[in-house]
Amino acid sequence: MTDAILTANFSKRFSGGPEIVTDDLHIGSGITVLFGASGSGKTTILRCLAGLERPEIGTIHFGEEIWFDAGRNIFLPSRKRGVGFVPQDYALFPHLTVARNVGYGLNDLPAAERTVREVETLHWLGLEGLENRLPRELSGGQQQRVALARAVVRRPRLLLLDEPLAALDTPTRLRLRGELRQLLRQLGIPTILVTHDRIEALALGDDVVVLHGGRNVQHGAVPGVFSRPVNLAVAEVIAVETIQLGHILEVRDGLATVAVEAARLTALATDLPAGVREVYVCIRAEDVILMRADTIQSSPRNRLVATVRTLTREGPLVRASLDCGFPLTALLTRPACEELDLREGGQLIALVKAPQVHLIPFAR
């Protein structure tokens, strides 16, 4: 984690809704992902930071500035915070052209400089030629970029993005995910990004704050949080049991060989951009097949010798934490567990089919 530029320690309650508590949140200068299911309070926190909602108690500090202090009755209005805000549906002004949407926040600049900035930003986001279009005449991806342009053209001190890719169709979302990461990196503006999508969190964030039931349950660098959730609540929010950093050794015939710690895994490389070296390797517990160690042949590509660390009963299922050079979690039924004679400390073979090893580029 980098040094904190924003500290938030406030709570906000809507009538009927859960109380949202930030629990002394420190936001660094990179890209911080607020990650959680819907209703976990991500958007509320973002809106409080933007000055669009006023918390009941607590404080928000940005650098030396006080944005909010309930005790001293300080509330800096939105327009003075210098943040760039991109809501989930973008809220492009429907009656203004692309150029006027983008230029809206530059009102206090001299006309000449305004034009320079507009042109610069439109060029940077590849929006040239669309200046005179109205928002409804744009595709989803174009709208997203106009919203981003409108927010960043003012050179905000903090960028707030609410589910930036959620409004897009799947192919566009996949294409823009990598692009967005690049753009945010180039900008270098501290960014807080809200998402409920695990892959987006992995692909876009430096740090991640996991939110659950209105509370901040874990906060840290993305690889750490995702590979070592502090408790079951975080693990459930993340929803993939095994997430490990891996290193691509080779890509051949559409298959990638990945090194994870001492183990070698095979995965499909079809969705993997060329040139990617570092990846997150994600395996769901129910995709792991367990066999007795004396079995000889099997079709799955990934055949790992595993030692059973712990076994946890979850209703009709058993969650097995394995060590196969890296931590791997498997989920199996209790009868299966008995037939395999599974016990802690025992050895067996873990199998995972190549298509069930998901690779997410780790961009740094």
Binding site: A50, G51, L52, P77, S78, R79, K80, R81, G82, V83, G84, F85, P87, D89, A91, F93, P94, H95, Y104, G105, N107, D108, R150, A151, R154
Partner: protein
């Protein structure tokens, strides 16, 4: 139509337009406050603004007469400070028309403002815009159709105003007589053709105004 009739129509149109100049700033501010803010006494103001819709117009006229007459609180102040008289002048006509048409305008404009999603205004604020800029560049343009429809409706209502006008402005030919008052007078005097001519003109203008207003409101849906 005779030139006297043309003059009468012209005068009535000018009076109705002048009343719009009063209604627009007051009505827009009021509609915005009602649509966007919560304050104590809001319900009271809402009722007061709508009162002229249901009160007999002559009662509204009577109240205006009391307020703006030489001896009334507002009227005496205007007279001593600016030597400005209102009642039984064209100014009283404008005042009566504005008072009677304001409710229609405020209702239409308020609905139009309420239909503007606040997310646009909030976003404008994050981009550094103050409240005036937000209103004139976001709220008003997005509510344009509804506000325009309300303006036309208020204009049509003003052209047809009778009760309040006759109370505060009387019937001074060439100075305060408007179309409806002239029609009444014509019928009184048994000048049926004159009455019907003026009635026809009124109907045409009212039809056009309401027709366009409806069209504007329909298209938004």
């Amino acid at each position: 139509m005779s030139s006297a009739e043309w003059q009468l129509v012209g005068f009535s149109l000018r009076m109705a337009l002048a009343s719009l100049l009063l209604i627009l700033p007051v009505g827009l501010a009021l509609a915005w406050w009602l649509a966007r803010k919560d304050w104590r006494g809001k319900a009271l103001v809402e009722t007061l603004v709508s009162l002229p819709l249901v009160l007999p117009p002559v009662v509204t006229g009577l109240v205006l007469l009391q307020l703006f007459g030489r001896r009334g609180p507002v009227g005496s102040w205007l007279h001593t400070t600016f030597n400005y008289d209102v009642v039984f002048t064209w100014r009283a006509v404008v005042l009566a028309l504005a008072t009677m048409s304001l409710p229609l305008f405020v209702r239409a404009a308020r609905t139009a403002f309420e239909e503007v999603d606040e997310k646009f205004e909030q976003l404008a604020r994050t981009l550094g815009a103050g409240e005036w800029r937000v209103f004139f560049t976001i709220t008003l343009p997005l509510a344009k159709r509804g506000v325009l429809a309300g303006t036309l409706l208020a204009f049509a209502r003003a052209l047809g105003e009778f009760g309040a006008t006759i109370m505060v402005a009387g019937n001074i030919p060439g100075q305060t007589t408007t179309l409806p008052v002239a029609i009444y007078q014509a019928v009184e005097n048994g000048e049926d053709v004159h009455a019907w001519t003026l009635a026809g003109v009124s109907a045409v203008i009212a039809f056009a105004a309401v027709f366009i207003s409806e069209k504007l409101q329909r298209r938004r849906k």
